[in-house]
């Protein structure tokens, strides 16, 4: 029974990496986990989703303004990219970079398009990680 669970976890993790959701930084975080702090990674990820929910909301609201405040959007995205990077969220990190490029060129439609994609990736990763942490 124990072996099957470990295998399940291993497969899930492998697929998260193979599909490009996570990168090396996630492994770095797992290596910091020990007996004193066995749920460290889950705690960091939970913190990430809690804090970034607020950022996502702010970006959403700012994208509704007319004209768009690209400096403000870029600032929010810089913060979001930073935290995404810290948990090893590779795909999200790339979406953030893309978004910031659009901010630089003042491409409002590009920002909105990229943001929709980003939200999808964000939700998808959240689900996958919730599942991953559920395996004891």
């Amino acid at each position: 029974m124990e072996r099957n669970l470990h295998k399940q976890l291993g497969n899930m993790k492998k697929s998260l990496f193979d599909q490009g959701y996570l990168d090396e930084q996630f492994i770095q975080l797992e290596e910091l986990q020990d007996e004193a702090n066995p749920n460290f990674v889950e705690e960091v990820v939970t913190l990430y989703y809690r804090d970034s929910a607020r950022l996502i909301q702010n970006i959403e609201q700012t994208l509704e303004n007319n004209p768009l405040d690209f400096a403000k959007l870029d600032n929010y995205m810089h913060q979001f990219k930073g935290s995404s990077c810290s948990i090893g969220a590779k795909k999200l990190k790339n979406e953030c970079t893309q978004f910031r490029e659009h901010c630089k060129t003042g491409n409002g439609d590009g920002c909105k398009r990229t943001f929709q994609q980003l939200k999808k990736e964000y939700a998808a990763l959240k689900k996958k990680l919730e599942h991953y942490f559920q395996v004891p």
Binding site: Q25, Q28, L29, E31, L32, D34, E35, A36, N37, F40, E43, V44, L47, Y48, D51, H78, Q79, K81, G82, S83, C85, S86, I87
Partner: protein
């Protein structure tokens, strides 16, 4: 306590970590604790200055109790940036001897130069790794020994030994 921890009797560094990101504070705190450091984590430059006794009221706690051996600060923070915090610290006769390390997600040469010119001892690109922290703490511990023996302070970047003391983890 955990892997790689220093044996009893070895000096424990007290590090002040400054970062507005809650996630990053949690991670840097863990990295430092694993490296056998005492950590005080604050969310802004203002808070850091208050803690160091540089912001306004200098009475209250005696500085010795709070002795900080290293300050690690994020560069981009709202209000006071890491660069501005660095200037405040290096501008204080009482605190300028404390090594300051800047952490930034942006690997910009101009930014790095500015910080090093202002007296930063190291510039780390985020995300910060355990090997970065271990290299730093080793350097500071050796620096403390060297200071006790009366030798001059070296910058981390100029120290050839620091490049060979990375851990295997």
């Amino acid at each position: 306590m955990g892997r790689d921890c220093c044996s009893s009797g070895a000096q424990e560094l007290h590090v002040l970590a400054v970062d507005d990101s809650h996630v990053d504070r949690k991670v840097i705190e863990k990295l430092l604790k694993i490296s056998c450091c005492k950590v005080t984590a604050v969310e802004s430059g203002r808070r850091a200055l208050q803690y160091l006794g540089l912001d306004g009221d200098k009475s209250s706690v005696g500085f010795d109790e709070l002795k900080v051996n290293l300050i690690m600060t994020d560069y981009s923070m709202p209000g006071m940036t890491g660069y501005e915090l660095l200037k405040e610290i290096k501008g204080s006769s009482r605190l300028r001897g404390i090594p300051v390390v800047i952490m930034s997600s942006e690997n910009m040469l101009a930014r790095i130069d500015r910080c090093m010119e202002e007296g930063a001892d190291e510039f780390l690109v985020k995300p910060v790794k355990l090997s970065d922290v271990k290299r730093l703490t080793n350097f500071i511990l050796r620096g403390d020994e060297a200071n006790q023996m009366g030798s001059s302070k070296r910058k981390l970047w100029d120290d050839p030994c620091s490049w060979f003391t990375t851990s295997c983890s």
